[in-house]
């Protein structure tokens, strides 16, 4: 279905090629997962499939890419629209119309399909992706999972044989990600579509993949079966790490397979004392909210939240998209004035403070880290706040490969986060807030982040992380707070909270249920202890 024939690709301004001599053949009906480090060229590989690279992005492509026998050299993306459907990273910015039904019809209108056919396909697609109850809804009012499904549907109606998706679940909470993946597997099973998707969150998708394409830093692409790719990968999802630790053969890729292999491991661990809660020394209370209510016009975003965060604590703030996590962080940093109730950070009300005072008290890394940038290069950015040396040291630890002369906007998602984090941490605020920090981060970058966060927590920083990433929460958080509809529905030790809810349980906890183990490193330590 898709053929890459000695394909190399180089962007106009780059000195080294992004893809080098790629030789690939993807047959009909496969679900192919593209993995690789941040900025390795995954998106470029995906864009080469429908001709966006080079027709849209610029750059030079040598060799031949053909889809369903059509050469992308002679067919720009618009002429391939009936063969390849492409869904970009941010579905909302790709929407042309404003309601679900019209968005689904848009591609067909461009193709000039007969109105009767259009009507039928829209209905089929609504059913296939479970969108029929949303057909008249405005796109901006949908949740991110629903938006992602509409984006998939909007290319699907054109009747393509290939679906290309760039990080379809990265921004989604676990239940929404499952919705999208369920829809995708159904497309592969029922319609025989070829699906090519890039994703950092391997733990979510690797079990569904038929093949794995790994884009290496030099631009080479390795084609492998999932199990063998995972066996070799330096960093893998927890289920694979656990399998490697326990020496399971064949290596399980899904929680279900791992659970079946885990009987003996569970017996060995049953005798070992459960991992002590990773709560460090907890100091004085840094931030406190009392009956905090925040309303936007007629929407109640927070409905009476009581929360205390102490020095040295790492609190994971979890909950669906739109549960009020970002609002809580914004109120703690004084961006929002509470409608009712009180907030105190270090005894002061953040919304009453001037911005220069706030910076020394609370640091927030926003969901779009690039919003923080105001300079023309990374080097200027780091010195802009007067903590240049500390910031440079932190950045060297978090992302050693960032060139100081780069424009901040040219950085990859993960590098942007690293720069933003270095900026915020350099001011050494007693309260650090992170909004969805692992979106677009690969595993090595994530483990460096965890290391730095632990270190700051040890020295007495109070940290609150709003996240969908259950593995991150299990790894670093001492306490987990779950928000739903603006209310705290659970607050307690991470181990207790995340194991209580299937949506928020990390993979290791699911595999070893009911034993209270959360991460692979805990199990490793437990096994070492039992061997002694």
């Amino acid at each position: 279905m898709i053929r890459f024939d000695h394909v190399s690709f180089r962007y106009a301004t780059a000195e080294i090629p992004t893809l080098r001599d790629v030789e690939l053949e993807i047959p009909d009906g496969e679900l192919v997962l593209v993995i690789g480090r941040t900025g390795a060229g995954k998106s470029t590989l995906l864009r080469a499939i429908n001709g966006l690279a080079p027709h849209f992005t610029g750059g030079t492509l040598t060799g031949r890419v053909s889809v369903d026998g059509r050469d992308t050299r002679h067919n720009p993306p618009r002429e391939l629209a009936d063969v390849v459907g492409y869904v970009g990273q941010n579905p909302l910015s790709g929407f042309v119309t404003d309601s679900v039904e019209e968005e689904l019809a848009y591609a067909m209108e461009s193709l000039g399909l007969d109105p009767a056919v259009m009507r039928q396909r829209v209905e089929e697609t609504l059913d296939l992706l479970g969108l029929s109850s949303l057909r008249d809804r405005p796109l901006v009012e949908l949740s991110s999972g629903q938006q992602q499904r509409v984006a998939i549907g909007s290319v699907l109606t054109a009747g393509p044989r290939v679906l290309v998706l760039d990080e379809p679940t990265s921004a989604l909470d676990p239940p929404a990600a499952e919705e999208v993946l369920a829809a995708l597997t159904r497309l592969v099973h029922d319609l025989g579509l070829t699906v090519v998707l890039a994703e950092h969150r391997l733990e979510r998708v690797v079990q569904y993949a038929d093949r794995v394409l790994q884009v290496l830093p030099g631009g080479a692409v390795v084609d492998d079966l999932p199990a063998s790719a995972m066996a070799r990968a330096p960093v893998a999802p927890p289920v694979v790490e656990l399998g490697r630790l326990a020496g399971w053969r064949p290596l399980p890729l899904s929680v279900r397979d791992a659970r079946r292999a885990a009987t003996s491991l569970k017996e060995r661990l049953a005798g070992v004392a459960a991992p002590s809660p990773s709560v460090g020394r907890v100091g004085a209370v840094v931030a406190r909210t009392r009956d905090l209510v925040v309303r936007y016009d007629d929407v109640v975003a927070l409905a009476g939240v009581d929360l205390e965060v102490a020095a040295g604590e790492v609190v994971a703030l979890m909950g669906r998209n739109g549960a009020g996590k970002s609002t809580l962080l914004a109120s703690l940093v004084g961006l929002l004035t509470p409608t009712r109730g009180q907030i105190a950070v270090d005894g002061k009300q953040p919304h009453r403070l001037a911005s220069t005072q706030i910076v020394r008290l609370v640091g927030l890394v926003p969901q779009e880290p690039a919003d923080l940038f105001c300079a023309e290069s990374v080097a200027e950015e780091l010195t802009a706040d007067g903590h240049g040396d500390t910031a440079r040291r932190l950045l060297a630890r978090l992302a050693p490969d960032v060139e100081p002369a780069t424009h901040p906007r040219d950085l990859s998602e993960g590098q942007r986060l690293a720069v933003a984090l270095a900026l915020v941490l350099a001011a050494a605020p007693p309260l650090l807030l992170l909004d969805e920090p692992t979106r677009g981060l690969d595993y090595p970058a994530k483990s460096r982040l965890v290391e730095v966060l632990r270190e700051y927590a040890r020295t007495g920083t109070a940290i609150v992380i709003a996240t969908h990433d259950v593995e991150l929460a299990a790894d670093v958080a001492t306490r987990t707070v779950v928000l739903a509809d603006g209310e705290v529905v659970a607050d307690g030790r991470t181990a207790d909270v995340v194991t209580a809810s299937p949506a928020f349980a990390p993979q290791v906890a699911k595999i070893l249920h009911p034993l209270p183990w959360l991460t692979v490193s805990q199990v490793r330590r437990g096994l070492e202890a039992s061997a002694l």
């Binding site: 404003d98 019209e102 009507r119 919003d371």
Partner: protein, 367 residues
Amino acid sequence: MTRPLHPGAWWAWALLLATAATRTTNPLLLGLALGVASFVVAGRRTPRGGRAFGFFVRLGAFVLAIRLVFETLFGSPLPGHVLVRLPSVPLPSALAGLRIGGAVTAESLVSAGYGGLQLATLLICLGAANSLASPRRLLRSLPGALYELGVAVTVAMSFAPQLVLAGSRVRRARRLRGKSTSGLRGWVGSALPVLQDGLESSIDLAAAMDSRGFGRRGPSSRTRARAASSALLIGMLAVAAAMYGLLAAGSPALIGLPLLLGGSGIAAAAVLLGGHGVVRTKYRPDAWGAPEWLVVAAGLAAVLGMIGAGRVAPGSLHTGAYPIVAPALPWPAVVGLAMALLPAFLSTKRPASSRRIETGELIGAAR
């Protein structure tokens, strides 16, 4: 009737109502027109249209208030009953036509109020059009040759709110770094990231549109498309020149009229020619039937009523402010406006919800 009316019908109705309002400064008639617009909007607006109407109502009220404030401070007063005497600022004789402060008469306020009310009514009619049928839906009904234009307007309309959102996000983020968000520096500092953000999302949109077949070259040849757009341009220029000829005093109407006819003929031919070779089709196009004609006719009735009132009772459309008199209520205008209410009753409302009937219910009903 369950299908929504064609957006063009609603826009025609609202614009005709606005045209009727331009013909009068009679506060009673303007009040009636406002009542008609609000009543129809209350019954027939689209689910999210209420917000647009509210915005235009506030805008209208603001315009009226500004008109009155300016009249009080700077207007040259009509002689009559002095309500209040403001301290006045003497101006040099070179500015003889101007004044600041001074006596404020009831007559001048009333006269300004009539003018302001007329302008507010026009704005509120526009608001009614917006809330009865979204302008995006109207754009969808454009003929094929104008499709690109329609897309450009649609994208621009969604770009503006996005820019506002990005703006507030970036300004918040600047506060997080302890940077000032006010003053010239603050604005310049946040403008750049906002524009970069806007550029990035436009590029995303362009990529998505390209991948979904926007601008596919169909069987229509490129020369033909070019011929169509040049013909459209020439036609439009001719129409513009003709308008100038017709409206500018002193130029002979004999040149204007043929130019107008010729120009609109060329433009119409261009639209037809361009539309002929377009590949794209329309999903669930809005139908234009008898109800649409009725809605337009109702709007037309309002205009005809005003014209009729001008004939039957000359002077009744413009209520004098010096001396202040009670406004007249000419019957043709009242009848016309009453007929403009028709669309509120003409068709049933849209079904409140298209609730699905579950299988269980069917079985339950069968028992």
